[in-house]
């Protein structure tokens, strides 16, 4: 492999990006629900 550092760097960066986006997509939705509920209660 000609560019091992940059290859690894990009794989890790993009992998992390996709992983956290999926996490945020799932759990962020619950956060929105809680936020709206907390505003509703007040």
């Amino acid at each position: 492999m000609k560019y091992p550092f940059w290859t690894l760097f990009f794989i890790l960066s993009y992998g992390w990006y996709v992983f956290v986006t999926i996490m945020v997509a799932i759990r962020g939705f619950r956060n929105i629900k809680n936020l709206i509920e907390s505003i509703d209660k007040k």
Partner: protein
């Protein structure tokens, strides 16, 4: 030339617009007072905070500016991202400044300054934040207009119309739904953004080949373009300014700090920062990759002499196939709208909370407060439209954003650190710091365009001006505070 098809890609963009618009408007019922409007009742949890912060700090302007860095400097263009991601991680781990800031339960940083330095400093801080912030944001709309007109194949004559449509659309749901709308639409935009950016990268690697892109980048820009060492193009003063701007942004940039202030507590704020820090790196990694891919596609000659910024959108227009280009444009619009809406809220919060504080004295009714906040957002929108059309960009867009950001980043970071950790900090020192911090970058912006000074100013360069602004601002605070201390004895 573009692959955008109005009958296939057009509806994709339109459906996206409609979804965002209706959600943004529907959320208006959750906004009944200024606190809801500006900081969403301080109810933001970690994952929503990450989505909002990451989506806010990645707009079309950032993407084009950082792609320009990739086109001109190769993978070296990632350096500011390393500085920014590293700074955010350090601050998120230590809670440096953001912990006391969140614990004070203020809406803006100047509000905190009032407790330490008095009302005048609060007002002056609000003013420099606004000037720096608005000038910084001033070219966002133009870049978004450029991007859309190129990728959608709309003639340059419609640039103003595109800018106005984007602004009206974003302004509409921001004015009506405030921070609650901004947060929820940020969440959707964050997910769509990821889909679009990963799709573009996949298409580019599939079409060009990973190795070929890097090989060609080395051939055009030299072997130095693939390492992070400093050279004649990426100099030490530039690196120092990148680090200073990165730390100061993480500590005081209103759109970042508003997520800290909207967080449930200081521990959540720190978690948001820690988890978002790699995004600050990705904010550069993805566009820089798009930039070097555009370099591979067009070669260095096609977009020279200040036109480098247009290479990336032209590549997307010509390379991304029908169907996918609609999703890509919707995702870039998503990125841009989340940025614009958050920035509108951020600067309006400073105007209402700090600059107008002597007038309303926190005594206005919720209805009146909301009305004025909405009017302020409309005024900011008009300013952005006019400024975006009028200002001629003569440097890299990223350099312009750094210089205008420095107008307030230099002094506000000094004041914040002093406010939290420097016992003897005085209002006199804070005043000197604000004046010096604003004067140096503003002088640069004016003098670079005047015939008698442009050569000298360009020889000194924006980076030294920026670094000087930070150093002298800190020195001003220190000396001013010492003078106050001796006088009081």
């Amino acid at each position: 030339m573009t692959n955008f098809d109005f009958f296939i890609d057009g509806p994709i963009v339109l459906i996206y617009f409609c979804i965002i618009f209706f959600i943004g408007i529907w959320l208006r019922k959750y906004v009944s007072n200024v606190e809801h409007f500006l900081v969403a009742n301080r109810g933001v949890d970690v994952y929503l905070g990450i989505a909002s912060l990451a989506a806010t700090e990645f707009g079309i302007a950032t993407c084009m500016a950082n792609a320009e860095l990739g086109f001109k400097y190769g993978l070296k263009g990632i350096i500011p991202g390393i500085a920014l991601g590293g700074s955010m991680l350090i601050v998120g781990l230590t809670g440096f400044c953001i912990e006391p800031l969140r614990n004070m339960a203020v809406i803006t940083i100047p509000e905190l300054f009032e407790r330490k330095f008095g009302k005048k400093i609060r007002w002056a801080s609000g003013l420099v934040i606004l000037v720096g912030g608005l000038l910084n944001m001033g070219l966002f709309l133009r870049q978004a207009g450029n991007f859309l007109s190129i990728t959608m194949g709309i003639g340059e004559g419609y640039l103003e119309l595109l800018m106005t449509v984007i602004l009206l659309f974003v302004g509409c749901y921001t004015v009506i739904g405030g921070m609650v709308s901004v947060l929820v639409t940020d969440y959707i935009q964050f997910i769509l953004m990821c889909l679009g950016l990963v799709s573009i990268t996949t298409v580019l690697i599939y079409q060009f080949g990973w190795k070929s892109i890097l090989d060609q980048s080395t051939a055009y820009l030299g072997p130095d373009s693939l390492n992070l060492k400093l050279n004649v193009v990426y100099t030490l003063d530039r690196l120092i300014l990148d680090i200073l701007v990165a730390f100061a942004s993480v500590l005081t940039w209103q759109t970042m700090i508003s997520r800290v202030l909207s967080a449930k507590d200081s521990s959540t704020a720190k978690k948001i920062y820690r988890a978002t820090s790699p995004y600050m790196l990705m904010r550069f990694v993805i566009p820089v990759f798009l930039g070097i891919s555009a370099l591979y596609f067009f070669g260095p000659q096609s977009y020279g002499n200040g036109k480098e910024i247009l290479a990336m959108p032209n590549m997307i227009a010509q390379l991304i196939p029908v169907g996918l280009i609609g999703i890509v444009i919707a995702s870039m619009l998503a990125a841009d709208m989340s940025t614009n809406s958050s920035y509108l809220i951020a600067w309006s919060s400073v105007i209402y909370n700090d600059l107008l504080a002597p007038i309303h004295k926190n005594k206005w009714s919720s209805k009146k407060g909301l009305f004025y906040n909405r009017m302020i957002i409309c005024c900011i929108g008009v300013f952005l439209l006019l400024y975006g059309l009028w200002y001629p960009l003569s440097d890299d867009l990223w350099v312009y954003m750094q210089v205008t950001g420095t107008i307030y980043l230099s002094s506000m970071s000094v004041l914040l650190i002093a406010c939290c950790y420097f016992k003897n900090a005085s209002a006199f020192g804070a005043g000197i710091s604000i004046i010096i911090g604003a004067l140096i970058p503003v002088s640069y912006l004016f003098l670079q365009d005047l015939s008698f000074s442009s050569t000298l100013v360009k020889n000194i360069g924006p980076y030294r001006f920026g670094v000087l602004s930070f150093l002298l601002s800190a020195l001003g605070m220190f000396i001013g505070s010492l003078i106050t201390k001796f006088k009081s004895k």
